[in-house]
């Protein structure tokens, strides 16, 4: 087992765990009002998007170089 395989495995598991948690938090905060709450929603959403990108990179669907 090479290092890249282990790194991708950790990234995959982590991306699912963090992405799901961020999405659940986003859902819980969805009805919150105010500038800080709105900004938090945008930032949490972008962070969840980051988790999706990391997940796709971990399974070699993104970032594959020829």
């Amino acid at each position: 087992m090479d290092a890249a395989f282990i790194e991708r495995g950790i990234a995959l598991v982590g991306a699912i765990a963090v992405g799901v948690t961020a999405t659940v938090q986003l859902k819980n905060d969805w009805t919150a009002r105010g500038l800080d709450a709105d900004l938090t929603k945008v930032l949490l959403g972008l962070m969840a998007l980051g988790c999706v990108i990391a997940l796709l990179a971990a399974v070699n669907l993104l970032g594959v170089r020829s």
Binding site: E7, A37, L43, A54
Partner: protein, 211 residues
Amino acid sequence: MAAAAARHLSGTEAVAARYRDVDPVYGETRDIRLLGFVFFLLSDCILFSSFIFAYVYLRISAPAWPPFLNGHQLPWFDTSFAAMNSIVLFGSGVTMHFALENWKHLNKAKFNGWLIATILLGIGFLGGQAHEWSVVGISWTATTMGAAFFTLTGMHGFHVFVGVCYLTVLGLQANGGTYTGSKYFGLTAGTLYWHFVDVIWVFLFFLFYIW
């Protein structure tokens, strides 16, 4: 009166009603300070955007990417390690969110636990970046690729370092009695800053390791 009205509200509205009830002046100054902090984040966003656009311009105008150096094409960056390190940083965003939520619910022990987890994950990310810099195989000055990579990731790493120091100070302040269950703007600002640093990395990760 406001406390009774707050029972029908949820989330931030309830918190806002609560602190206005406790201290109307604090409620007003908090909004002004929050707006000032958002402007600070916007100015930081412009700073990163400028460097990101410079990198995009350099890349799309280059005849080949990665560029050639001494007749050899430079290697791509290591996606697998960066994906793992990214998750460390994104995870710290979630733990910071939990820390603030626990402070709002007056659970100081859990707040401390999540805050320490955030700081440790932030330090872990910085360690990962230091490792990445040591094995990346390009220099700051030889190519535009190296210049853009070290400048942007260095600037981001500096923000993470400042964030780690910031969160440490916030933790000390929170345990020293600076904040209460109704007055905790510093913690809100710290959380927003940390989320912002996370989101900047989403863009940098995509630009350097995916694109």
